[in-house]
Symmetry: C2
Amino acid sequence: MPAPLFLRACRGEVTERAPIWVMRQAGRYLPEYRRVRAGVSFLELCKTPKLAAEVTLQPIQRFGFDAAILFSDLLVPLEAMGLEVQFTEQGPRLPEPVRAPADLRRVGRFDAASKTGFVMETIRVLRGQLGDTPLIGFAGAPFTVATYAIEGRTAKSFTETKGFFYRHPVEARQLLGLIAEATRDYLRAQVRAGAQAIQIFDSWVGVVSADDWESFVLPPTAALVSEVRAAGVPVIYFANGATTIFERIARVGADVYGVDWRLPIDEARARLGVPAAVQGNLDPSVLLGPASEIQRRATEIVRRGGKRGHVFNLGHGIYPETPVESVEALVAAVRAA
Amino acid sequence: MPAPLFLRACRGEVTERAPIWVMRQAGRYLPEYRRVRAGVSFLELCKTPKLAAEVTLQPIQRFGFDAAILFSDLLVPLEAMGLEVQFTEQGPRLPEPVRAPADLRRVGRFDAASKTGFVMETIRVLRGQLGDTPLIGFAGAPFTVATYAIEGRTAKSFTETKGFFYRHPVEARQLLGLIAEATRDYLRAQVRAGAQAIQIFDSWVGVVSADDWESFVLPPTAALVSEVRAAGVPVIYFANGATTIFERIARVGADVYGVDWRLPIDEARARLGVPAAVQGNLDPSVLLGPASEIQRRATEIVRRGGKRGHVFNLGHGIYPETPVESVEALVAAVRAA
């Protein structure tokens, strides 16, 4: 039996059609997700393997996506490193963020087995239920996780993070290194539990300059990617908002590069300059428009993405207000293209 | 007497040193600004020529910047087009945004003379006080102003704007065209009043795809730039967050392109592919770091910017928490480079 379509595309192979999944496919746009979520807090949902597995499966059952992605949160490993994380209506809050070099003492070693066992259990439950559909594990990239550690919330201008980098470059690299190590252990545990591919989300990397990316972000990120690939699974690096620096980004060494919607996917691939696979790049706002527009744009991306090493996806997480019918139209368009 | 340094650089000439000004130089980081602002609301400050001129002059007097920029707000012309704008602690709010094609009827013709006379008076006062320092007038670009009209606030994901574009492309272009025409009249009035250069801020254009930029944003923006240039002043187009599409952006036809901090200024210039001037590109967060780092990075930008057609600036507005000493260090570094 051939490997699943999604995994073959991740490996850069030519596939008979582009596999499709969408970021945040297990989410609030789905009525069945909202029903589960109505009964529990977000954190309870993440930490209850039976429920996390249930919502992970929902979009697979409804749309037949070509990959499932673990339902969890970017900040789970940060909590497991000893930093308190609260999930509020306004988003995540860290009551005691890392603001000075001395705060690094509070950032502990990471113990994947004892602190994130619920994630591994979710993965095991899912592998028992997913059949042939591959499961993607994930984590935040070191820079993106560091912004939460330093800002204590989803930042707007990232001045705390950058201020810390410029004032304390040694300790900033130390913090990024600690997060990268913890994330490595976390992701290797996910692979041992059954994750068949890993996506690393660098959600906020678009806010750093090319020079800062090379100097601060690249080394710990490349180390992490290399160490996770050594566990035998393909690694997708999604550098959101970073097509500006795509000429540099292949130095991360990933198998697949996520492409947001800002640049056409063939141009983004050309900028990479290496024969890696690409994943993206429909603007999720298109799903708020008419079906004809969804079809036109999805078909264009399939054409531009080409047959080799192309995973269809949105360029960002699906918006909660997206009509389910739009996702149906999208899946049909990609399958028919 | 030669033309002022800043204007020569805008015209693409070789200059003896890079002129410097910084975006939001009249702002909250200055104690003398906070003193004026303590007594009046933001809107009163914008609408009182004596006070608006006073805060415009403050950074010129303190730092000797090579250009002054009119103190005003991006939403002034929108209000003059008949849409109510409230300035709240949480930012601007439009109680009745443009959400459906029928709402276009509420977007009126713009009467610069009767509705924005306070801006023109501020410019006249300033020209009487500025001496040899050139004065930059400004407005928001059609797309950026349209996002406020449609979202009713500073957006996060711009789903209302893009949803409107995809559902109602004809009316979206109509709205962008109306804003471009109003902005043309507004900016020509500024030039008649004495503005010697114009900056067009496309603060949010970084959220659109390359295709949407070409299809929706480029035509009204290029028309606006061309019509303002016909008034005889150089036009600076600052497309924030858009170095990704800098290969396309010179089609706007500006004299100068603002460059945020994401790409080194020489790479951004190369992407433009035309011999236009460039302005930027220090990450304003650097001003939250030590003087040595400010000096190192500013010097590097002066070197990479080259001697021809280069205006030194930040890559974005200066942050309110910036120490005044950092700006002093910056000015000294650029002058000494």
